[in-house]
Amino acid sequence: MTESREPNTEQQEEWQPKIIGFLCKWCSYAGADLAGGSRIPYPANIRIIRVPCSGRVNPLFVLKCLENGADGVLVSGCHPGDCHYSEGNYYARRKFAVFKKLLEYLGVDPRRFQVSWVSAAEGEKWAEIVKTVVEEVRAAGPNKQLSAPVDKCSGAPVKRKHLKND
């Protein structure tokens, strides 16, 4: 489990949204690869995690990313009908339709969780989507909802004491 990096001076100067992308190996990942290969520029705010299928993405992955400091999550898979496993993205579609509604209902900013279909041939589209998602998340600001620091049980102020340093 990764941990959110403590803000250093550089980040404090200009905050950059941090976005995690879960990309299906067969389409979207190849699409992103094509974008890179074709030298189409797009923001470097996205960190890509390759998954076998968009259907593999458990909503818990999304929650864990947001919990650990990501400002947004993008799940991308094959267009309907193109799934390498025939129907994985159809299940993903239902799952994320419900999940998105749930997050919205709980008051989580809907811009923080996005889904797209990008095929292996759509390098241009991939770059466009990343641009839009980054801008939307930038507008939403740093994720203070799910990654909020842990609340203390009693309201008593605390101070930190070094125990050991050798």
Binding site: V150, V158, K159, R160, K161, H162
Partner: protein, 335 residues
């Protein structure tokens, strides 16, 4: 030991003063629930409640507590830990049963092994008790060496005498200090009134807990299977129990966290190998009963229950531990 009569107005003034000089925690309403929380307005302090939903143990043994954190300082790895500010903390409106439970915590955390995290919080806290005039049907403190007006574990005890007057009985020096210079001497009439209230409250407690002296001999009895059947293995009874102190440790990133754990949960005893000696529900339920009524007694000379009745009131399926303990010897003879 001093006794004083203070008015409701006096109490409000004292609360206002305490808010400034110390961290003040008192029961307040949150929706339908009564919970202890930091006092922001003395008007919000709640007096008319049988007991808070959560016991005060959470302020000494928090549900989640960072023990230490790994840090990198000047290229070296070190540890640091959080300490609450050493400001006096007043917990106002503690019921006698909950105060007694802290003495049991002391046996555990201030016995052979000294738990500095617990002791730090214990040392800076003053417990202001509120005598119980209206115990509930589910209360059974009387049979466990406690009572609705018991003073054990408290620093000061307040009794609501009605008519906006309160009898304040100082128990320890730090308790008396809080009420210095206010109120008036108590008279004979007030002392009698207090006695009456205490007797009346005692009469309302009808439930008694009488574990059989030979509880150990029922360990293998099929009784446990029968009585634990409806238990759903949640953690309500243990988490809301003022005397349950089991905890677990885990790392969250670089923080070492201590948090409440419950013997009702199946993974409670699960070992790394996958072996789980208490996989069955009945063994877990039996553990809860035996820990309270047998093991703790063996180790510390007392039953680990104060009769607050929270487990009976809050159990989602109304498992009645008192009934189960009382019945266990009868059931044995029947079979």
């Amino acid at each position: 030991m001093t006794e004083k009569i203070v008015s409701k107005e006096d109490l409000k003034k004292i609360l206002e003063g305490l808010m400034k000089t110390s961290e003040l925690l008192a029961p307040g309403k949150e929706g339908d629930l009564v919970l202890f929380k930091p006092v922001k307005n003395p008007e919000e302090v709640f007096f008319a409640y049988p007991n808070s939903l959560k016991p005060v143990k959470e302020f000494f043994f928090p549900p989640r507590e960072e023990l230490f954190k790994h840090e990198i300082r000047e290229g070296k790895v070190g540890l640091s830990s959080e300490h609450q500010e050493n400001r006096k903390r007043v917990i106002w409106g503690v019921r006698p049963c909950d105060a007694k439970s802290l003495l049991m915590f002391d046996k555990m955390f201030d016995g052979e092994y000294k738990d500095s995290y617990y002791l730090e919080k214990r040392a800076k806290s003053v417990l202001v008790g509120l005598a119980c005039n209206e115990p509930l049907d589910s209360c059974f403190c009387l049979s466990l060496n406690a009572g609705p007006h018991a003073k054990e574990g408290l620093d000061v005890l307040i009794t609501d005498l009605g008519d906006d007057s309160y009898l304040v009985e100082g128990i320890t020096a730090k308790g008396e200090e809080l009420f210095q210079g206010c109120g008036k001497e108590s008279g004979e009439g007030e002392r009698t009134r207090k006695k009456e209230l205490e007797e009346a409250a005692k009469k309302k407690i009808r439930k008694t807990c009488q574990p059989p002296p030979d509880l150990e001999s029922f360990f293998e009895d099929p009784y446990w299977e029968k009585v634990s059947r409806k238990c759903i293995s949640c953690g309500v009874c243990t988490y809301l129990c003022p005397t349950c102190f089991c905890f677990d440790l885990s790392y969250e990133g670089r923080d070492c966290i201590r948090f409440w754990d419950s013997c009702s949960f199946s993974p409670f005893t699960k070992m790394t190998s996958g072996e789980n000696p208490r996989r069955e529900k009945k063994t877990r339920y039996r553990q809860r009963v035996y820990h309270k009524f047998s093991y703790f007694k063996k180790n510390f000379g007392e039953i680990a229950c104060v009769g607050c009745g929270r487990c009976l009131r809050e159990c989602p399926v109304k498992v009645d531990i008192v009934e189960i303990v009382n019945q266990c010897s009868k059931d044995k003879t029947k079979d």
